[in-house]
Amino acid sequence: MTEKLNMILGGAQGSGLETTIQILSTAFASSGNGFLADREYFSNIKGRHSYAHAKISAEDIPRSIDSKIGLLGCMDAETLFTHFEDLVDGGYLIYDTSTEDKTQDSIKSIEDPLRERLEERFNEIGIDGTISSLVEYLKEEKNVEVIELDYPSILEDIQKEFDISSSQASRYVSSILIGAVTGLMGLEKEQVDKGIERKFEGKEKIAKQNIFLVEKVNEMVREEHGSPLKLEGAKLDEDELLMVNGNEIIGMGKITGGMRFQSYYPITPAADESFFIEQHASFEDEGSVLVFQTEDELAAITSCIGAALTGTRSATATSGPGFALMVEGLGWAGINEVPIVITYYQRGGPSTGQPTRGSQDDLMNVLYSSHGNFPRIVLVSGDHEEAFDDAVKAFNLAEKYQTPVIHLMDKFLANIVKTIPVPEIEGKKIDRGKLFDRKDYKRFADGPISERGFLGSEVMWYTGSEHDAEGNVSEDPENRIRMHEKRMKKLKIAGEEMDDRAIYFGPEEAENLIVGWGSVKGAILDAIDEMKEDFGYLHFRCFSPFPAKKVSSILEKSEVVIAVEHSYSPRVSEVVSLKTGYQIEKEVVKFTGRPIYRDELIDSLVNIIEGSDREVLKHGP
């Protein structure tokens, strides 16, 4: 019996893996376990290898995953080829015995470089490269316990049992995996059934058939292997948890924060957020959120600004390629002091890059894109809980300082499914800032922060050109100085309020300081929890305004400072140097687009302490 389990479940994109994860995660959570799963997939709709890499914990809500896994569940042969090396010694493997003669040659979806690496590796370990040879190797050399199931014959059984077609039955492979996993982990039948019923709400027949199949496999597995992976009694306090991915939690935050207009143009990994909001758009008689699919991102940002001018809390969501088309609109919002929120999910760049993989390489892009100078607020969130708070806060800041806010997220956060406590809603502050309140209104009078009027209340003017207090174009040099200073001062004022958004975790004075932001938070906190050395972590939740004083004082205290980031060369080091002059000299980076695993991070930090300046993390297929 253990307290935590890392597992990978894999299969071809579109073959039911998503269902497996949803049902299993529900089952884990409803039995009181914490759950976190990263999702990896190609830029492909069907056929390429995809997987969920999860951690289940009986004692807490996981913050990171390990590269080494205790359980590998394969829907197909490619999963085994791709992940066999990730299994810990003594781990568990679930696979389809009918694939035992398969070699990688027959699997077209495998990319060449992996193919070559496998070839080499099979030579090294001296196997012929069939699935069966691989399984044999794992058993012999890695003490892996193998759950051997003949998927086709199990499916044939159910086909007969319910008199369904073979093509329909083939969609039940996911339930074989569910049965095997829940068997090994000793989950209670009700909890699993719950998950299935929930998933197939309204489709009772399908639910029934799946339940039947899961139970059958579950029993088969228990009979032969028992439940060796049963987690020690779940200790989570909450009676109720939210199971959300990052897109969803942001959607919830935006709705809670009073957003009533969201424009978007579809793009990975942002589009699911808008889809989720649209699903929850209506408040019955109370109103609704208008979700607007535009013709492109130029229209997404500009329609968002238009909506904001009417006093509606408005936002848009995108990733790098879409943001590129929003830059001009961003500047317009800047000079016109329009409160809008751009939720930006980073993915691998440059250009189309790695559209379904994660990255943190866009920090300088959001801080400096656009010509001229204007205040912009850049919030960054490190996990789902922070993301919820920031999604609400973003609107408050946007309206208080009358300026665009970019909320920087990433693909990892967007897609990671996690159990979190239900957020406190009722206390959530809504601050609409200084509002219009008089005759003879001038939109840009009395800075730095002017009274904000809404189109539809009084007459006002806006223009992207430099303008006077009334919003009419002015080229006068003294007016220019006045208005430019007015705008820039707002960032200074915001900076005074927001100096707390650099957060230090760790002992009073740590010898080694890790600096990071965004989705690396979990792995870093877990790593420093485990490491014997004296480590602290400086976590940014905001880069503009930059909490320079606090950051400088923290940086000074440590001897070794290490930036950890998903980028080629840490952007956080660039910003810190730019703002404080402090040059962070060590770095752990990952730019394969795969998540940073707790264990590989620990290894790299050990190397850093031993003298390395730069560690490039590589794990994850």
């Binding site: 019955e284 229209a299 809603i425």
Partner: protein, 300 residues
């Protein structure tokens, strides 16, 4: 007493510019319609034409080159009680902004688009605009233009605008009436305004237009096929002006939204309260029930 809708800003178009005709017809139309300044928004792009809002005493939003339509779209969608008029140049709407121009037609949002069609890029010193016919060499060009002109009315008809008209900047009455018609239409209306640019377009001058203009008569713009309107509106020897097409059947975007979000009609985004005493209006229970799909109860 009727307002005059002028502002105190000096109008800095070139003396004789056709835009003067346009802005004064706007004054007259607004005056006759008695539009409410605070509930009317003139949205413009960038160009000589883009300066319009500063000369009209209603809300003015002078946006980005090519983006007047999506700005206007956001404004109108969020607050449908506003009357929204777009003023753009030919470059603005049919060059850099052509994609949005098409998209507005597909939506039939209740916005009037007035295109200041001078066939050149005025404010950047006279380059060819998308409506300049091929082989034409206006004053500031090194060589005659080698791109074909786009036909603005045909494009509007193809895109789904439900009210499609042409007028002339120097025919104040015709233009004023055309503006009024366009504003009264419910749905996406397009008004192409032939506009002399005295500084850069030495070919399509007032005289040029005056000689060719042919006012639509005996033409019923309703219950016809867009292609019929297209044929009728085509510019040959003569330049027909008037209302070529009107369709009052196709639902507006606002109506389509309201069908899916019934509260939209009464509580458009701009009309909703989102806070009570500085707190969110959502309470814990509503949150739980709204997002019940994501809630998981621990089973004892």
């Amino acid at each position: 007493m009727a307002r005059d809708y002028g502002t105190e800003n000096w109008i800095d178009w070139c003396p004789g510019c056709g835009n003067f005709g346009i802005v004064s017809s706007v004054y007259r139309a607004f005056s006759e319609l008695e539009v409410e300044p605070e509930n009317t928004v003139v949205v413009s792009g960038i160009g000589c034409s883009g300066k319009m809002p500063h000369f009209i005493d209603v809300n003015g939003v002078h946006t980005l080159h090519g983006r007047a339509i999506p700005f206007a779209t956001g404004i109108k969608m969020a607050d449908p009680k506003l009357k929204v008029v777009v003023n753009g140049g030919d470059g603005d709407l049919l060059g850099i902004g052509a994609g949005h121009f098409v998209a507005l037609g597909r939506r039939n949002l209740d916005v009037l688009v007035m295109m200041h069609d001078n066939r050149v890029y005025g404010l950047t010193k006279g380059q060819a605009s998308p409506t300049l016919p091929r082989d034409t060499k206006t004053k500031a060009l090194n060589t005659p233009s080698i791109q074909d002109a786009v036909e603005p009315l045909a494009l509007a008809l193809t895109s789904g605008y439900t009210h499609v008209a042409r007028s002339f900047a120097m025919d104040s009455d015709h233009l004023k009436e055309s503006i009024k018609d366009g504003m009264e239409h419910e749905g996406a209306a397009f008004l192409n305004i032939l506009q002399p640019c005295v500084t850069y377009n030495d070919i399509h001058t007032s005289e040029y237009f005056n000689e060719r203009i042919d006012k639509l008569e005996d033409w019923d713009p309703e219950d016809i096929d867009p292609t019929e309107a297209m044929d009728r509106s085509r510019i040959d020897e003569e330049i027909p002006i008037g209302l070529f097409y009107r369709d009052t059947e196709t639902p507006t975007f606002e109506e389509r939204i309201a069908e899916q979000l019934p509260s939209y009609q009464e509580k458009a985004p701009a009309e909703q309260d989102i806070e009570k005493n500085g707190k969110t209006i959502l309470d814990q229970e509503t949150f739980r029930s709204k997002f019940k799909g994501n809630l998981i109860r621990k089973e004892k």
